[in-house]
Symmetry: none
Subunit: 461 residues, 2 copies
Amino acid sequence: MSLAPVLAQIDADLDESVERLFNLLRIRSISTDPLYKEDCEEAADWLVNQLALLGSDAKKYATSGHPMVLGDVFPNNSDGKLHILFYGHYDVQPVDPVDLWDRDPFDPAIEATPKGEVIRGRGASDDKGQLMTFIEACRAWKLVHGDFPCRITFFFEGEEESGSPSLVPFMQEHKEKLISDVVLICDTGLFQSETPAIVTRLRGLLGEEVTVTGPDKDLHSGMYGGPALNPIRILSKVLANLHDADGRITVPGFYEGVPDLPVEISDQWEALKFDHQNFLGNVDLSVPAGEQGYTPLEMIWSRPTCEINGIIGGYTGEGFKTVLPSKASAKVSFRLVGDQDPHKIRSSFREYIRSMVPDDCKIEFIAHGASQGSVMSTQAPEFKAARKALSEEWPNEAAFVGCGGSIPIAGHFQKITGVTPMLIGFGKDDDQLHSPNEKYDLESFHKGMRSWARVLAELAD
Amino acid sequence: MSLAPVLAQIDADLDESVERLFNLLRIRSISTDPLYKEDCEEAADWLVNQLALLGSDAKKYATSGHPMVLGDVFPNNSDGKLHILFYGHYDVQPVDPVDLWDRDPFDPAIEATPKGEVIRGRGASDDKGQLMTFIEACRAWKLVHGDFPCRITFFFEGEEESGSPSLVPFMQEHKEKLISDVVLICDTGLFQSETPAIVTRLRGLLGEEVTVTGPDKDLHSGMYGGPALNPIRILSKVLANLHDADGRITVPGFYEGVPDLPVEISDQWEALKFDHQNFLGNVDLSVPAGEQGYTPLEMIWSRPTCEINGIIGGYTGEGFKTVLPSKASAKVSFRLVGDQDPHKIRSSFREYIRSMVPDDCKIEFIAHGASQGSVMSTQAPEFKAARKALSEEWPNEAAFVGCGGSIPIAGHFQKITGVTPMLIGFGKDDDQLHSPNEKYDLESFHKGMRSWARVLAELAD
């Protein structure tokens, strides 16, 4: 089956494809907020319906949270043909603060910007726009050839933005339906506008919340200021000690399992000529502030971090209050790489914190999830095939890159079905994921569909 | 005029006095929060009305903030009689966190506790209960004798808990009305349950709010964690550096003007046998955490401090969010003593903070008031008279003590009218000032009224 007419069909049908995406973007499928439960159901139904139009038997599966969508399309003759599974998520992040949006987040539109046309709306990039690139590519194959180049399993969840509580139990229960030769996940970005990327390294994530209690009640700093211990001061000291002067994390044993970067990978990354001045300049920063001795790209893709994501204590309203507070707390997270063991690090972190606070303090911890980093082998033939297909669509050759974030679904496939997934996506750094005014470049959407059409052809070849 | 029937009248009228105090406590006069502006007006009106019942010409005076109440009562024959001015404040602290209160903070009640009956409610002690002890003592004099032992000027403000922005301009404008022979201020406590106190040393207060901005928007820690600067981490480091290992404050020049304590004063304080184990034990602490080399009483009464009163940054709600925040801020206050210059310290603090943050950070400061510490001479005859009167009401002799808090009004009187005020009050250490479940012992209220009746008699004698 020839690829060229499929690409032509995608080009011809672009407006209709955008219109279909708009229909999905109008559904307020915010998974973390119970208020939008019905909307999540509606999004799942909408997807089942789209897949039915492709001739799929896909169904909605109830979970204790939001439903899963799962089902297949088969080529006319399946014999010896490849079996691909595609994963995406139909849920989106909350939209607050709504007043920072320039338009209703659920009333999508094409907007002209100095950098080109964009699709504006919550989920335009993360992940509705991305998952639709794949569905539209399949639609074009079906329209042009009345057939698919391989068997395709579609797997969509609706809880990715709220911790995916139902995902692992569902995958374990339906493991047989999820086994395939190749797994494709579309929830990542291009390396740069003209350089597509296949993610082969992901960082894990460990979350901790620590609360320091000093006096058992809030005190007046005029009455107790001096002899009474101040938990904000203690917590500040503890947090200030988590990094040394070189930006290295001081938690004992933290760097156990952090692999050195192979020279061939660092050479490849060097060749990407990552413009960190621009990357930081976009957010009004100029100096890479991380671990000394590493390039900014290495800091994000191959080095672990420790971040303070939130802190609160004492009086934080308008004006002033001379309170000497009883409690102070912070949310701390670690991005992990290679074989770092999140559970060992959690224990070590807690012991370390305890060792730094005076006996007069009480310390409490809350665990907020733990996942390991992962590294995929780029030697497998499907990685080479996908790289070739992407390189043909885009101006520059596709890169094997890292990702500073955590995409736990990748690890779940590795553990449950034994398949190492390929992470390919078309988002850009300025897509405003999770923020007001999220967008997806029309070019990302268009070339994304074309990329998948090519990847299907190349993999099935 | 005889004192005994005045004391008997106070005893007989106790329930009615409490009821009147409840009426004042029900008014939500939180001065720092603009939401309660009308309530502050109402509290001022209520006081004008109470003073009118004593035959006073007192009026409400508008300011750019909350109103002042000012006016006199005169003895039937003023010739050669003493002129006393009494100061108190009708505004109260905010009540958050409200869920830590055992009752509505503005629905006062008498509660039985293991240590005796208490008046529970915001402002019960600070300062509505205290100022009412004086008004009730005046009421008793008037009822019993149809006369007052001296001329009395009442002066109440409504911004004491929010830095008193209108106070000095008002005092300067109305200086003539504020000149008196003696100034009484009721906003302090007993030394211990059975030992009344006259405060002769006060700490000043300097408030600063510092905001550190890193990236110009909140970032995803998966995308930027590593090279992007984290303002919470910067702020923690800055705050952790404000004290050295001995608990001394590191702001350059901070200790300029801090006087050594005269031996006779430290001897007197030593003799008070302050039970710091109990003082700290009451709030679930055990080790004096302040500046090394000083007794806990010295830490509170004669040494300056630096406290972090509040901190906030990033995500502080339920659960977890891997945000790398744009901003973090803290409210920091200094208790000052002797001749420490708050304005010089403010400048030095800001310069010091700026020197500690990377160039990529923006720093903003908000000034939250500045007052100097003060030391009064205890040799004046009114100090001796008041000490004698208090010693007759309470089991133990009255003590000349220090106060760790700031009562800037004391310094204002010294500067504007040239009168050194006497600070006498009946609060207790466990009154939970500025905290949830504030209370005032019924005994404090009752013996407080009796104490003022005696002080008026003794001063006028």
